[in-house]
Symmetry: C2
Subunit: 264 residues, 2 copies
């Protein structure tokens, strides 16, 4: 997927300004600071309190009007605020990107050069993030600014994928299935084990192995179990065993889904 | 969860006979052979071809009547065949266990001492199994034979959990959610990415991280995303984006499920 070898093009550091103080902004700040190929010029938050503990390491501001020159401005704010923040930027013709999986590149104000720098991973405030395991999907209008975004992603050790708007939307939606929905299945499993006073811990190795298996095998080939075998006896017993109507509904729908996939 | 320290009780090797030639039987055979605390007396399969490649390493047979004395007989056959195989055993008062998550201990013929030795993990024919990552759930009638089953599980490095029949049933059902159903969500994600010609590979780190996260955080606390936030705009856009009615149905039900869990 590499567009070109970045090192042969850029020998200078890439200067960035970070706009926003949420999880993504904070993790990006930390990994940029560690990279020798990136310099963080400024960090903006409308609430200075959120970033003031970093003030000895980086210039902080709560005024968009104070933003200085940088190669890339990274807007890492909530989806709803991206358009408005980009409008308020007091400069033009510079490279401005957002980090969202679902917001259109055209939501950025067209007075600047526009791009998307979307890290496809789940971030929590506390957990450390290894950016080697964070694929970064990049998008620009025209090809001119792709190399710079690619260099930035590579500077933090990430794998870079050039995507188009439809592909990014598809990835964001698919991510809801493999992250939010999968996590909800873990939650239901937790409810089921808890109701019998048995430790959820016992399921943790299976959860990991299920995720591991599809790293080198397609989900289609990795499938096993009563639904795939259309083992009616077990399916019936499971449904009888489930006490919550809501759990029954999830069981029924996903069993049908598996049967459909495997032609049962 | 340790009932006692096994080493102080058993200094002799535990002798086992394996009945069956499927995935579980084969993986158990291999790990038993590697353990210095276990000796495999015999391996039975009704189809000798399935195990004949092991004939120089272990006594094989296709006759239940030829089974010799062992501390534990492990019936690792399909659920439907367990009762019938246990009836056909030509001896009594010995310890006979099955390895199923869903079959009752009482399905074993009562002429022998009965137990369950249920490895809660997904096994595939090719993949190597690290039994350190396979929790083994054990069950007996009365407490007398628990220590021997516990020693056997510990001899292969597994974590042992003593469960009752309802707990084992709950675990087996919960395993369907975290393994088969989760894998089906991966499959749907694969369909979504494929339809836009984007690589499923991009999702693999997220799949792993989602599984990793609940190793030290409850699924409840690990949840994020549009359903948890009740972000109606994103949910509506996602539903519009999904082309398959079937994908829409899964999206809707799991979104409702998350909203329910998080009181939205």
């Amino acid at each position: 997927m590499s567009i070109y070898d970045s090192n042969s093009y850029f020998s200078c550091m890439i200067s960035v300004s970070i706009i926003g103080a949420g999880n993504v902004a904070t993790h990006l700040y930390k990994v940029f600071k560690k990279s020798e190929q990136v310099s963080v010029v400024q960090w903006y938050s409308r609430d200075l309190n959120k970033i003031k503990s970093y003030k000895n390491a980086v210039a902080i501001t709560d005024q968009l009007s104070e933003l200085e020159l940088a190669d890339i401005y990274i807007i890492a704010v909530s989806d709803d605020a991206i358009a408005s923040v980009s409008e308020q930027l007091p400069f033009k013709d510079r490279l401005v990107v957002h980090t969202s999986g679902s917001v259109s590149i055209y939501d950025l104000d067209k007075k600047n050069k526009r791009g998307v720098f979307y890290p496809l991973q789940t971030f929590s405030k506390e957990a450390k993030v290894d950016f080697k395991k964070v694929p970064i999907c990049i998008e620009t209008i025209g090809k001119k600014n792709l190399p710079l975004l690619q260099s930035l992603a590579e500077a933090i050790g990430s794998k870079v994928y050039k995507v188009n708007p439809d592909q990014r939307k598809a990835l964001h939606l698919a991510a809801v299935f493999v992250n939010n929905f999968t996590n909800q299945l873990y939650r239901i499993a937790h409810e089921i084990t808890e109701s019998e006073g048995v430790e959820f811990d016992i399921l943790k190795p299976l959860i990991l192995e299920t995720a591991n298996k599809v790293q080198h095998l397609s989900p289609y080939l990795a499938q096993t179990g009563p639904a795939k075998r259309n083992d009616k006896k077990t399916i019936k017993r499971h449904l009888k065993q489930l006490e919550s109507e809501h759990h029954k509904a999830v069981y029924t729908l996903l069993t049908e889904s598996i049967k459909k996939t495997h032609g049962r």
